[in-house]
C-alpha cells in the first residue's frame, strides 16, 4: 500500500505543469463567469464547462498513454522495480497518480462550477454528481489506455482507447455497461439548467468494476513483458 502511495504521489508531482495548464482554463472560466451577465451568458458558460469536461477525458488518455513509456525510456522504471514493488503495484500506483491529478482538477472544476453554473440555475448536488461521473469516466479511460500501453507505443494506445471508447458512442444504447465512458459523460455534455444530468449509479458501479478488471488485465500482460532490452 505504501509503495502504491509513493508511486502515485511521485507520478502526480511529475504532472504539475499539465495540471497547472488545465487549471488555467478553470481560472479563465471563473473569470468569464464573474465578468459576464448571468441573464445572457448562461449558454456560453455551459459550453466552456462542457469543453473542459472533454479536455479532462483527453488529458486522462495523455496521462495513461505516456506514463509507462516515459519511465521506460528514461530507465527510471528499473530503479522502481528493483525495489520490493510488483508490477501490479507499479501500475496501480500510476493509476492512483492519474486519479490524484484528475481528482484535484475535478475538485477545482466542481468548486468553480458550483459558483459559475450555480448562477445559471444548476443545482449544486447535480454538479458534484457530475464531477464524480467525470472522475470515474477519466479513470476508466486512463485504465483502458494503461492497459494498451503495456504492449503498445503511446500513440497506438491512445488510438486504441479512442476506438474502444468511441464504439459505445456510435451505437448508443447497445453498450451501456461495457466501457461506459460515453455513457457517463454524455449526460454532462447534454445537460441544461432546465434539464440537468442524472447520475446512473449502476453504470457508475460497473465502471469501477471495469477499472479494476482492466488494471488486473494490464498487470497480467505487463508482468510478462521484458522491461529493458539489453543496452550493450
Amino acid at each position: 500500500m505504501r509503495a502504491l502511495l509513493l508511486i502515485s504521489t511521485n507520478f502526480a508531482r511529475d504532472q504539475l505543469w499539465p495540471l497547472f495548464f488545465l487549471l488555467l482554463w478553470v481560472v479563465g472560466w471563473a473569470l468569464f463567469g464573474f465578468l459576464s451577465d448571468p441573464r445572457t451568458a448562461g449558454a456560453d458558460a455551459l459550453l466552456i464547462f462542457k469543453q473542459l469536461v472533454a479536455y479532462t477525458i483527453a488529458f486522462s488518455v495523455f496521462f495513461g498513454s505516456s506514463a509507462i513509456r516515459a519511465d521506460q525510456r528514461s530507465r527510471r522504471i528499473l530503479g522502481v522495480l528493483s525495489k520490493a514493488v510488483s508490477r501490479t503495484q507499479y501500475l496501480g500506483g500510476l493509476l492512483a497518480g492519474i486519479a490524484l491529478v484528475i481528482g484535484v482538477f475535478c475538485w477545482c472544476l466542481g468548486f468553480t462550477a458550483t459558483w459559475v453554473l450555480g448562477r445559471f440555475g444548476f443545482s449544486v448536488a447535480e454538479i458534484w454528481l457530475g464531477m464524480l461521473a467525470l472522475l470515474t469516466a477519466c479513470l476508466l479511460t486512463a485504465s483502458l489506455t494503461l492497459f494498451f500501453a503495456t504492449f503498445l507505443p503511446p500513440v497506438f494506445s491512445a488510438i486504441g482507447t479512442g476506438l474502444l471508447a468511441g464504439i459505445p458512442a456510435m451505437r448508443e444504447g447497445s453498450f451501456t455497461f461495457i466501457l461506459p465512458i460515453y455513457t457517463l459523460v454524455s449526460p454532462i455534455l447534454a445537460g441544461e439548467a432546465q434539464n440537468p444530468w442524472r447520475a446512473n449509479f449502476h453504470v457508475l458501479g460497473m465502471a469501477w468494476i471495469e477499472i479494476v478488471v482492466l488494471l488486473l488485465a494490464a498487470s497480467w500482460i505487463f508482468s510478462r513483458r521484458d522491461l529493458a532490452v539489453a543496452t550493450e
Binding site: 527510471r76 525495489k83 520490493a84 514493488v85 521484458d226 543496452t231 550493450e232
Partner: protein, 308 residues
C-alpha cells in the same frame, strides 16, 4: 558458504515484433555466487552482462533455464527488499537528493524513523550530504552515479548488484567506491560487480566470471586465474647474461621466464654458475591479458563488424 545468486542453464534471446529471433543474449548461462564475496562479472560489450543482471532482478524473463537469488526464484518481489541494484545508466526522478533516496527507501518498506537515519548515512557514505537539498537534475554524471549507489545502499542490502558502478567517477570517487565495497564485504555483504574497468576488478574482486557471446568462458578465483599460466619467473644476479637465451636484463638483476617443470634445472644452473637467486614466483598475468585472451574471438568479430 551459501549460494546467494545462481543461474542454471539460462537462455535468453530477443525477438523482433514479428517473432524472428534477432539476438542471442545468454546461452546455457550457469553461474554461482557465494555469500560474502565480491564477484567480478566481466565481458566485452554485447556479451550479455546486463541481460544476466536483468534476468536475476526479474526485469527480463529467460526463454529457458532457471535461477535463484537469496534462495528465491528470479523476480520474487519480496527478495528484492534484500537486494541493492545500481543500473548501468543511472536514471532517477528529478527530486532533491534526500527526497529521492527517501522515495527509493520507502519503496522497500523502510519505516519512517529508520528511513530518515538511513538517508543521512548513505548520503554521507557517498559524500553527497552537502547536496541533500539540491535537485538530482542539476547533478553531474559522477554525482548521479553516487546517487545511484546511495539508492542501492539505502535498505542495507545483503546482496549488491552493481552494473558499472565506477564508470563515471573520477579517480578519487573510484577510490571511495572501492573502499565502500571493501567495507561492505567486511560486513558480510555479497557484491556482484559488472565492470569494464579491469584494474578496479583486479583490486577488489575475490572471484570473477568472464562472459563472451552469452556464455561463461572462465570462472574462478581471481588469484588462480592470474596465476594460471604454467610459468615461473626467476630473478637472479651475478651470472653471465649469455647463460640462458631468453633472459632479460633489469639493471643489475636478470629475469628469466620459463615453464614450471624447467624451474628446478634453471635454479641449479644459476647456483652452479655462482649466481644468486633473488626470487622465484609463479608468472602473473594481468587481468587484461586474461580478458583479451578469453574474449578475443568476440572482439575480433566486433572489429570486423565495425570495420565493415
Amino acid at each position: 558458504m551459501p549460494v546467494v545468486l545462481q543461474y542454471e542453464s539460462v537462455n535468453k534471446f530477443y525477438r523482433s515484433w514479428w517473432g524472428r529471433r534477432t539476438a542471442i543474449a545468454l546461452q546455457e548461462f550457469s553461474l554461482s555466487v557465494q555469500a560474502g564475496e565480491i564477484f567480478g562479472f566481466l565481458g566485452p560489450n554485447g556479451a550479455g552482462k546486463s541481460t544476466a543482471i536483468h534476468v536475476a532482478l526479474g526485469f527480463t524473463r529467460p526463454n529457458s533455464g532457471t535461477g535463484s537469488m537469496l534462495g528465491h526464484r528470479f523476480g520474487h518481489v519480496g527478495t528484492r527488499r534484500r537486494v541493492g541494484f545500481l543500473a548501468e545508466n543511472v536514471a532517477l526522478y528529478d527530486r532533491p537528493a534526500a527526497a529521492a533516496i527517501r522515495f527509493y527507501g520507502g519503496l522497500n518498506g523502510l519505516p519512517s524513523p529508520a528511513l530518515s537515519q538511513a538517508v543521512r548515512e548513505v548520503l554521507q557514505s557517498v559524500d553527497l550530504q552537502a547536496e541533500a537539498h539540491r535537485k538530482v537534475g542539476q547533478f553531474s554524471r559522477g554525482m548521479l552515479q553516487r546517487m545511484g549507489l546511495a539508492q542501492a545502499l539505502v535498505n542495507d542490502p545483503e546482496l549488491l548488484i552493481l552494473d558499472e558502478p565506477t564508470s563515471a567517477l573520477d579517480p578519487a570517487g573510484r577510490v571511495a567506491v572501492r573502499e565502500l565495497l571493501l567495507r561492505a564485504r567486511e560486513r558480510g555483504k555479497t557484491i556482484f560487480l559488472s565492470s569494464h574497468l579491469l584494474s578496479e576488478v583486479e583490486l577488489v574482486c575475490d572471484k570473477v566470471a568472464m562472459l563472451s557471446r552469452g556464455r561463461v568462458v572462465r570462472t574462478g578465483r581471481l588469484r588462480d586465474l592470474l596465476e594460471a599460466s604454467n610459468q615461473v619467473e626467476i630473478v637472479c644476479r651475478n651470472i653471465p647474461s649469455t647463460l640462458f637465451p631468453a633472459i632479460t636484463v633489469d639493471g643489475k638483476l636478470l629475469r628469466l621466464a620459463l615453464p614450471k617443470e624447467q624451474g628446478r634445472r634453471a635454479i641449479e644452473m644459476i647456483w652452479a654458475a655462482g649466481g644468486e637467486i633473488v626470487s622465484v614466483n609463479p608468472s602473473r598475468r594481468s587481468l587484461e591479458d586474461v580478458f583479451l585472451e578469453l574474449t578475443a574471438p568476440a572482439a575480433s568479430i566486433a572489429g570486423k563488424v565495425n570495420s565493415a
